[in-house]
């Protein structure tokens, strides 16, 4: 009991110093609000996590604007309880939303902020995620060499964070970084390295049972294989990506995978089969309102049907394409395609 008394009087506390520090803080903070209880902090963090997840959901359906609003709310919530890591996560997600919405400049500043916070928080996986995001911005701008450098750093950070990690975050971050590195490598012609990177990402995602990510790995691999001319292997890879996307019920991914399969069959000269894939792609794209995939399918389907001698069908596709053009406010297409 006296030990406690002694301890209480230990000089370590330095009340005077604390007091002056407090005074300075109070001044800096202006009208400071009442200290938040831990319960409130918990609730706010939970809310931030919930908001971020809702945002992820919108990302999945291509509603980037809505997703960004949710990430913004998550960021505010994280800020209000000084959750640096949470803020970093929200900013990184926001960056992806900007990027997907075609606003690379905004994406870059979001990723940069995210990186800054991740560094402050000392969170390796969050830094990796932010770096990977910055790399993706460079990829979007066409600077693959710069991107590759960033992805390499992201990979290194995630690998460091993976050691002794208790959460799944570093593994996920690593999978993304390795995959993105593969994309950059492929764009720079380093196909062997790219395929090796993809294999590693695939392994990580298989272990983590992350189907839609797995599908992305296989999709990109199919693309690389196709560029090397290994069309059969590419088709197999695209179809396995399709399986993974189906498992993940990722409609947008399904549309893309089917389109890839259609294109590959075309290149292999298997016209009817290609037609089937493209139609399925169109069906899926329409079901999830994926305009880009629908357009790609329609643009492929028309000539393909025509080349197979199915003129009526081709006309129908042309009509559908014209409808799409009209809906998107594009100039009227060539008169031949008019109904």
């Amino acid at each position: 009991m006296s030990a406690l008394a002694r301890a209480a009087r230990r000089p370590g506390l330095r009340p005077a110093r604390l007091a002056s520090g407090l005074a300075a803080l109070v001044l800096a903070a202006g009208c400071s609000s009442a200290p938040k209880s831990t319960g409130v902090v918990y609730a706010v963090r939970d809310k931030a996590a919930e908001l971020a997840k809702l945002g992820d959901g919108f990302m999945g359906t291509g509603q980037y604007e809505s997703a960004r609003r949710y990430y913004d709310e998550a960021l505010r919530a994280s800020n209000s309880v000084d959750d640096l890591e949470g803020g970093a996560a929200a900013l990184a997600s926001m960056g992806r939303a900007y990027l997907a919405g075609g606003m690379p400049a905004e994406a870059r500043s979001a990723f940069e902020l995210s990186l800054e916070r991740a560094v402050l928080a000392g969170a390796g996986s969050a830094q990796s995620t932010a770096l990977a995001g910055l790399g993706e911005v460079l990829v979007a701008e066409g600077d693959h060499a710069g991107a590759l450098e960033l992805f390499a750093r992201a990979v290194a950070l995630a690998e460091a964070a993976l050691k002794g990690a208790k959460t799944e975050a570093p593994s996920r971050a690593l999978a993304v970084a390795v995959h993105d590195r593969a994309v950059a490598q492929a764009a720079l012609g380093l196909r062997a390295e790219a395929l090796a990177s993809l294999a590693r990402a695939e392994e990580l995602n298989l272990k983590g049972k992350r189907s839609s990510e797995l599908a992305a790995n296989r999709y990109v691999r199919a693309s690389i294989l196709a560029s090397e001319g290994r069309l059969e292997e590419a088709l197999a890879s695209a179809l396995s990506a399709l399986e993974a996307d189906k498992a993940a019920e990722n409609g947008r991914g399904v549309a893309g995978d089917l389109g890839a399969a259609g294109r590959l069959c075309e290149r292999l000269g298997r016209g009817p089969e290609a037609l089937g894939y493209w139609k399925r792609s169109l069906d899926a794209a329409l079901a999830v309102d994926h305009a880009k995939a629908a357009r790609a399918a329609l643009e492929a389907l028309g000539p393909l049907a025509a080349s197979l001698g199915r003129e009526a069908e081709a006309a129908r596709y042309a009509a559908l394409l014209a409808k799409l053009d009209a809906a998107e406010g594009r100039p009227a297409p060539a008169p031949a395609a008019a109904p």
Binding site: S37, A43, G57, S212, E213, G251, V254, A284, A294
Partner: protein
Amino acid sequence: MAAPVLELRSVTCTRGEAVILDEVSLRLEEGEAAFFMGAAGSGKSALLKAASGLDVASAGEILFRGRELSRMTRREEAEFRRKTGFVFQDAALWANQSLYDNLALPVRIHEPGLGAAAIDAAVRRAAELVGYDEELRARPAELSLGERRLIGLARALVLDPELLYMDEPAANLDEESAERVHEIQAALKDRGRSLFVASSSSAAVSRFADRVGVLRGGRLLAYGSFDEAAAWTDPALRGITGRLKARKAPPRPEWASSLAGAWADALAEDKSAVDEPEWKLRDGASGDGDIDSDADAGPSEGGGEEDGRG
């Protein structure tokens, strides 16, 4: 028209000099779920305590199916307690009784004639309902807070109440448990039970609320139907209800609907166009698709097409 299941008339609560509930008036019709939002300390818990008669209001009237709480006879009050349940934010289990006794006491009190087997059945059913399948002989202290709160919920449900007060029922629970709480809320609503909930989870409010109330500093700033709440524009309210998701999906993009129609016509004309539907899209919306635990988060968590679009 029948009396509402719960009605508050100018209810004021004070603690010492401080006013913690200020002239709150509201009605809750039979089978409705009212959710109350507000920052911490805005009076949500105080409102629940007052509305359930756990705190004595210093002014105003609280009516349960037209009967005023403070004027109830002993028998009426027992009846009121039997037909209502209260889920405490911190579980509030009786620490010196086993979980089993915690669940059994309400039954023993209100159904004195019931045999041990019937009580046992009721207790097991309640525990099962909340998904607690561990040993019931344990004491509350042996459980984690999350488990205790599930048992607290089970205790409130053991007599199948017609009106359930819930104080932040899903806050700080792990996802599985939180989802279980939401399922129970949904099931209660389906069975026409009334809910009176303090919640800071906008997702839960979006899923279940018929009426939404916003509290600040002990005042009920606004109280209205969910659709009204989702459309509130006052910044003071919007700050709290701003995250409410509209119940209905937004209209499809024009191109999509027109194209989809045409495509459907095409399919009808040409049976061979697509041999089999590619893949059962879930009600037109989809998550981002990871099959891990996160997969069912996001807009698809409601599992219905009312959810999902911002």
